[in-house]
């Protein structure tokens, strides 16, 4: 499964980039993410709790930020293992300035699922992936707006 999209976010490239690299922001913005803990530089473990179709469940996840080219680009790699199955997702995040105080974020992603969630959640999967991604950026945008109005 793969997809792409773009979203306009408030703040310049540096601000947006720093926010999206911030583990606290990641924890707040990734749906069902709890107990995000740093295990090494740019690598975290977390509990993910996601429901796809009839397969709701918890995943032990590692979240890795890779190919970091501040403030233009990074790859977000999520590997989750749980009773419902295994999720492997990779998103490439590319930032472009759009005027002085706005940033255009382009993303592409691929996601692979294995196990029970693959065999019974297929039909819903594309929709769920979109839902999670849209939710992520919606929350990230809110977070950026909140920080901007606070400063």
């Amino acid at each position: 499964m793969e997809g792409k999209g773009e979203i306009k976010l408030p703040g310049n490239k540096e601000e947006v980039f720093n926010q999206l690299m911030d583990p606290d922001v990641l924890e707040k913005c990734i749906m069902g993410c709890k107990n995000l803990e740093k295990i090494e530089e740019n690598k975290y473990k977390a509990d993910l709790s996601v429901g796809i179709a009839a397969v709701k469940g918890k995943y032990d996840a590692t979240i890795t930020l890779d190919n970091v080219e501040e403030p233009n680009f990074y790859t977000l790699i999520v590997h989750g293992e749980g009773n419902p199955g295994i999720v492997d997702a990779e998103g490439n995040i590319h930032l472009d300035s759009d005027g002085a105080n706005e940033t255009l974020l382009h993303y592409t992603y691929t996601a692979d699922i294995k196990g029970k969630v693959a065999s019974i959640g297929q039909r819903m999967l594309g929709g769920v992936a979109k839902l999670i991604i849209n939710d992520f950026f919606k929350k990230a945008k809110k977070e950026l707006q909140r920080q901007q109005s606070a400063s």
Binding site: G85, I86, K114, G115, K116, A118, S119, I120, Q122
Partner: protein, 808 residues
């Protein structure tokens, strides 16, 4: 009397089933202190197991034991399988997983909830490996290899040459070739697998209740795996099984797995499969690729065929595979008088779930390419398909007919059945309607299939997978043995014990009909015990319900046992009346001398003598009335040195004609009429026969239009629930007309042949033929299934221009 053989008496099973009094395995509590198992299954299609950590699970409430591959390795041996280079197949993954859903660990706990929770707490570390799911890719030299010990994914490969194909291909006017793909699909009984296993350590005895229905060749496979003498594995089956359609024979690994679980946990263990497990990892038919070349003359005479068929048996080749490749070996050329046949058969292993029996077993995979090919040849020759089929049918005076590969078709009149089908469907009139419709942009089509339906399989056919030299190393395999017991107790009640393990086919009803006819008692007075118990039933390797063997074999064993009882009664009557045995018959509850009806004696008195007064029995006769009979048919011989084999004992015939309308904008197929004409010899109970035909047809419809166990390239199952694995329901079943023709089998005492699998074999072919015919203006070729709207729509889109020719 109307309760005898050949009449549609009501099924005796239905009263209990309809009033909630059926006894299914999940309802049983055969042992005290039964615990429950849940299975952890692999999310990977192909991976090494690095580590299994069950520490946390073992500490959880109610958990008694956790089993892994190590326990299986300790207590079992690999399941035997009939190929020359066997792989190591165990009831649970050992070190490596080879399909998604393969058992990796079993938790035994106080109840299923606790067991499932504990499964979640087991941590498994995998090292993922590249997977292969495609048949042709799996045969490539650089494909990932599933089983390192044999170094190839090919589990079985043989080549056969019958007649003189090379000459036929040289002499023919043309050679027509095509490749066909048949999908992997399953059967979806309402009741899934269920096992309750107990182990008595002081006796090293496994006692297992389950809804397994044979073949009981697999009893030997299971006891070998458990490494116990076969009388230390006692299998018991309740009288009611909620459908199987072959799939439940694939539960044998779970019988072993739960046996070991009970042994290690020290408590009886129950496991009931859920629907996801069933679709993911129970069993299914094979997917198959078939390449066909046909040597054809311009007048439509088919001189010979060359076929290469490759079956995908999934992650492990397991018994009774590679039988799917060989079940139809004797009838590879179907209903046609073609004399020359070359065949290459290959079984390949890929990272899909393992396969096994399924209704039609191998027949749908054979007849889809064969019958599609007939239509394709007709088109190439600009002939009508019905004319081509008719021209090549085996003539009615050719029976018994020997096929090039050794099949002996016992009886038939194929022309007559085909004519009935064509007339009932109004074939010629429909052709006219079709031409008119095309002009109006409506796509009507008519297709036909003419197939031979084998029944009562020969135990020896699977050994044709081995070379003649390999076969010589061991005992020849032949026959189709089945047993039955008929007894009369001291008060005169009749009991029949059968080992045919029905899963809904009404064996109790038909057994009662047969015994009632032989003993001239009312059918509702005859009690039939359908429970299976390998410790006490009269059974043999071939026992069980599969290959439509009840009508030709099971019923014959019952008939024979009833005859023994009848003979014994008449011998007692001979002794008491002083009339010769040959002159006696049974009428109205009495033994009567046919020529002098004043000489008679009541059955009650004869039965009484056998039990209460054995002193008055003829000299040397044993007391009691309890007769077992074992039945086989000598036509089921071991394969010959030249690889010919008669794989089944009786061969019925099915002629289908189907009309459809296809919507070219959506690709949707509507079946207008489905006409099916059957010749299964003498019908034992026409209502039951029609029920079997309808069920088989619905299953065939599923294979044709809806059902597929679809996998992605990583070996992940994509259709693991009924949302994505579509089964036909009552509303999808079209208008069906069933006609019968009864050409008795000369081989069976009642003239009966098996039926119920025919339309599962024919429906994918006949519906695909009708759809192809409807889309003649688009010139599309259907060579894969199921016929989902998107598949048909895509084929239509690939043809850019539509030309409706004037001559239509």
């Amino acid at each position: 009397m109307t309760d005898k053989i050949g009449h549609s008496i009501r099924r005796v099973e239905d009263a209990r089933l309809m009033s909630g009094e059926g006894s299914y395995v999940d309802d049983l509590e055969p042992f005290a202190n039964v615990h429950h198992a849940a299975i952890l299954r692999s999310p990977y299609a192909h991976a090494n197991i690095k580590k299994i950590n069950a520490e946390q699970a073992l500490t959880m409430e109610g958990v008694v034991e956790v089993l892994t591959g190590e326990d299986i390795l300790e207590h079992t041996k690999p399941f035997p399988v009939g190929v020359s280079e066997p792989i190591n197949y165990y009831s649970m993954a050992v070190d490596k997983v080879r399909f998604v859903g393969e058992p990796v660990a079993v938790v035994v706990a106080k109840d299923r909830y606790l067991a499932e929770d504990a499964v979640d707490a087991i941590k498994v570390e995998y090292e993922p490996l590249d997977a292969v799911v495609d048949i042709e890719e799996a045969m490539q030299h650089d494909a990932p290899v599933l089983h390192e010990n044999i170094g190839t994914n090919i589990a079985n490969q043989r080549f056969y040459d019958y007649g003189n194909s090379d000459k036929a291909f040289e002499e023919a006017d043309m050679v027509i070739s095509h490749k066909f793909n048949f999908p992997k699909y399953s059967a979806t009984p309402v009741e899934n697998y269920g096992v309750i296993a107990d182990y008595t350590s002081s006796e090293n005895q496994y006692t297992v209740w389950s809804n397994f229905h044979g073949p009981f060749t697999l009893h030997t496979v299971m006891s070998a795996a458990l490494n116990v003498p076969s009388n230390q594995l006692r299998l018991m089956v309740p009288k009611d099984i909620g459908g199987s359609y072959g799939i439940k024979s694939g539960m044998f690994p779970y019988i072993v797995l739960m046996g070991v679980a009970a042994r290690k946990a020290g408590v009886p263990v129950k496991w009931t499969e859920d629907r996801q497990e069933n679709l993911l990892a129970s069993s299914s038919g094979t997917d198959r690729v078939t390449w066909i070349d046909a040597a054809v003359n311009k007048d439509g005479t088919i001189l010979g065929m060359k076929m290469k068929m490759v079956d995908n048996v999934g992650g492990y080749i397991r018994a009774p595979e590679p039988a799917s490749l060989y079940r139809t070996h004797s009838n590879t050329l179907g209903a046609y008088k073609i004399k020359n046949l070359q065949m290459e058969t290959v079984a390949v292993m890929t990272n899909k779930s393992p396969t096994g029996l399924i209704r039609g077993y191998g027949g749908q995979q054979l007849y889809f390419p064969l019958e599609r090919m007939m239509q394709h040849i007709a088109k190439k020759l600009d002939m009508d398909a019905a004319e081509l089929v008719e021209k090549n049918l085996i003539p009615s005076d050719a029976f018994p007919y020997e096929t090039p590969s050794g099949g002996i078709y016992d009886s038939g009149n194929y022309q007559k059945a085909l004519k009935t089908a064509l007339d009932t469907a109004q074939y010629n009139e429909f052709r006219q309607k079709q031409k008119e419709a095309w002009k109006k942009g409506k796509y009507l089509g008519i297709g036909l299939a003419a197939i031979v339906e084998p029944s009562g399989s020969n135990m020896g056919y699977v050994t044709v997978a081995l070379t003649p030299e390999e076969r010589e190393q061991s005992l020849p395999k032949s026959g189709c043995a089945e047993g039955a017991t008929v007894s009369i107790d001291p008060r005169g009640s009749v009991t029949v014990r059968i080992s045919t393990v029905p899963s809904g086919q009404g064996h109790e009803t038909v057994a009662a009909q047969i015994v009632s006819e032989v003993l001239n008692v009312e059918a509702d007075k005859v009690k039939v015990i359908a429970e299976m118990d390998t410790a006490t039933n009269p059974w043999s390797v071939a026992s069980g319900s599969y290959s439509s063997r009840f009508a030709p074999i099971g019923s014959s064993a019952i008939y024979q046992a009833a005859q023994k009882v009848r003979n014994k009664l008449l011998r007692i009557a001979e002794h008491q009346l002083g009339e010769p045995f040959q002159h006696l018959t049974i009428k109205n509850g009495r033994a009567v001398a046919e020529e002098d009806e004043t000489k008679q004696i009541s059955l009650k008195r004869l039965i009484g003598t056998a039990h209460w007064n054995p002193v008055d029995l003829p000299e040397g006769m044993e007391p009691g009335l309890h007769e077992s009979a074992f039945y086989t048919i000598s036509a089921a011989k071991a394969p010959a040195k030249d690889d010919t084999v008669n794989g089944s004992v009786t061969y019925g015939f099915v002629a289908d004609v189907v009309t459809v309308e296809v919507d070219p904008d959506t690709g949707e197929v509507e079946i207008l009429d489905y006409v099916t004409v059957h010749d299964a010899g003498k019908l034992l109970n026409p209502t039951i026969a029609n029920g079997q035909i309808l069920g088989g047809l619905a299953h065939g419809l599923g294979g044709a239009m809806y059902e597929e166990l679809a996998y992605d390239d990583n070996g992940q199952l994509l259709s693991g629930s009924f949302m994505d694995y579509l089964c036909p329901t009552a509303t999808e079943v079209p208008n069906i007309t069933i006609e019968h023709q009864e050409t008795p089998s000369p081989l069976t005492p009642l003239g009966a042949k098996g039926l119920g699998e025919g339309n599962t074999m024919s429906a994918p072919a006949v519906i695909a033929n009708a759809v192809t015919d409807a889309l003649t203006p688009f010139d599309i070729m259907i060579d894969d299934l199921p016929l989902s709207p998107d598949r048909i729509w895509r084929k239509i889109q690939e043809k850019k221009r539509v030309v409706v020719k004037e001559e239509f």
